[in-house]
């Protein structure tokens, strides 16, 4: 019985924490969508499809999924040089956007969970703050 109660509480806590995180992620994505519309859409386009050979796609992007830290660094400090995304080489330049760490976390959460992308862990302001040039 004790074990059951213990497991029950663990279960409740887990569900509670999940329920708690879900709105956090959704809220972050909502703010991130506004940042995206403001700073990113003119090149990466509305569905994250990008422009082949010019602006790398964000939708279903292997680079984004496999290089989380480098992706955040790119948004934070800018990006220049060769980059292979879904088998295609890009050699462009993205200037730093001047976003605050919290805004970068929001836009990353939006990108990582839109257009077929899915990420298990939410990007936090602290995670962005720790990434250095």
């Amino acid at each position: 019985m004790k074990v059951f109660i213990f497991l029950y509480f663990i279960g409740v806590l887990t569900v509670a924490s999940l329920l708690h995180q879900q709105p956090t992620l959704e809220e972050s994505m909502q703010r991130g969508k506004e940042i995206y519309t403001d700073f990113c859409v003119s090149c990466h386009l509305a569905e994250g499809e990008g422009v082949e050979g010019t602006f790398p796609p964000l939708a279903k992007s292997d680079y984004l999924m496999q290089h989380r830290e480098a992706s955040i660094r790119g948004v934070k400090f800018g990006q220049q040089g060769e980059l292979v995304v879904n088998g295609q080489t890009y050699n462009g330049i993205m200037s730093p956007m001047g976003l605050e760490d919290a805004e970068i976390a929001d836009v990353m959460n939006y990108i990582l969970n839109s257009w077929g992308n899915q990420s298990d862990t939410i990007v936090s302001t602290e995670e962005v703050a720790e990434i250095k040039k």
């Binding site: 519309t37 403001d38 700073f39 859409v41 003119s42 386009l45 509305a46 422009v51 010019t54 220049q80 050699n91 462009g92 330049i93 200037s95 730093p96 956007m97 001047g98 976003l99």
Partner: protein
């Protein structure tokens, strides 16, 4: 089956007809060009604007905020440059010399500035003189307001006309439903000033109550090209449309260029902004681009150095990464050509005092188009 084939052909033809651009909207890459592009200044990140000093040296703005003096193959950073609000499309933007620079030494710069009380930034115009690799006598001539943390549409280009008036542009700052159509507000405008910052008494809205009297024309989205026509002396502008609908305009005193009431473009999401492309009291572009080339920088060719180019208009394309050559008949675009394909995002183009064309390309630097003899 026959019917469906017929139907399909009719459908395809109709579709092609309805989507077809005018002949002027087709662009070709020529097999032969009358120049060889040569990299003159290397290792620049986002060279935004260029100016040519009388001694043959150059000033180049970098978006991130540095001003570079290029002389005898060497780059020297200029000190005491205005602090830029480095967010989104903002930064150190255009640079131009006073037409009488040799006498008065005035240099004009536009940039995104934090000046003001609200959080964020907006476009400012400053003038200063250059001495010992530093700017001094800095005077803020105009600061658009209010500040906003939005990342888009600062403009900005600077041009002088033959009578010595100064024109500069400010984009709509991402607030299209509030700014461009309201002459009591900054942004989405082309302004005209005396070179010392005073507002000309014959500006179009000086007698309108509450109007921003520096405004010369309005209803613009994000103008990043301004050039004086070498023969008529008129000021031409181009501006970024949304998805589709980039425009080439001749700037008229008091003209309303329609954004966002009329446009040939649509939202990035594919939804429509308006179903109107023209309206009484609003100016039509002399040319528009669908799809958008994302135009930046503009120069007329006045020299005979490049065979067949005299009187043409050169415009940078950020989106498709080439230099566009427009052949004109009067005010009509009769041919489009793609130059310098594949070098990178073309941010600015200028004809130098030596009659040669200089092109600023992101991630590369400044190219000089050396004529083939």
């Amino acid at each position: 089956m026959k019917n469906s084939v017929l139907f399909l052909s009719v459908f395809v033809v109709t579709l092609q007809l309805s989507c077809a651009q005018n002949i002027e909207n087709q662009v070709n890459t020529p097999s032969k060009v009358p120049f060889t592009p040569t990299l003159l200044i290397d290792e620049l990140q986002i060279p935004w604007g260029m100016a040519f000093l009388p001694d043959g040296s150059m000033l180049v703005t970098e978006k991130t905020g540095s001003l570079i003096h290029f002389k005898n193959g060497r780059k020297t950073p200029i000190e005491n440059v205005p602090d830029v609000y480095n967010r989104g499309q903002g930064g150190l933007l255009d640079i131009a010399l006073h037409p009488d620079f040799e006498k008065n030494g005035w240099i004009y710069i536009t940039y995104s500035s934090k000046e003001g009380e609200e959080k964020g930034g907006n476009t400012a115009l400053v003038r200063a003189q250059l001495k010992d690799n530093a700017l001094y006598n800095k005077e803020l001539l105009y600061k658009a307001g209010p500040n906003t943390t939005k990342g888009q549409h600062f403009g900005s280009r600077i041009e002088f006309d033959s009578e010595g008036y100064l024109y500069f542009s400010v984009g709509d700052r991402g607030n299209r439903d509030v700014n461009p159509q309201d002459i009591q507000k900054d942004c989405g405008k082309i302004y005209r000033l005396f070179p010392d910052g005073r507002i000309p008494e014959d500006n179009p809205f000086v007698n309108e109550k509450g109007a921003k009297t520096a405004i010369y024309s309005y209803g613009h989205r994000n103008p990043q090209g301004l050039a004086k026509h070498p023969e008529t002396g008129g000021i031409w502008n181009h501006e970024h449309g949304p998805r589709g609908g980039d425009e080439l305009n001749i700037v008229k005193k008091g003209g309303n260029y329609g954004w966002p009431v009329i446009t040939y473009g649509i939202n990035y999401s594919g939804t429509s902004i308006t179903d109107k492309t023209e309206m009484n009291g609003m100016e039509q572009p002399i040319h528009y681009w669908v799809p958008s080339i994302a135009p930046s920088g503009m120069s007329f060719v006045t020299s005979e150095n490049y065979e067949g180019y005299k009187g043409n208009l050169l415009i940078g394309s950020l989106a498709f990464q080439y230099l566009e050559r427009l052949v004109l008949e009067g005010e009509k675009v009769v041919k489009r050509e793609k130059l310098l394909p594949g070098l990178g995002r073309v941010r600015d183009v200028k004809e130098g005092p030596d009659g040669l064309i200089y092109v600023a390309i992101e991630g590369k630097g400044i190219y000089k188009l050396v004529p083939k003899s």
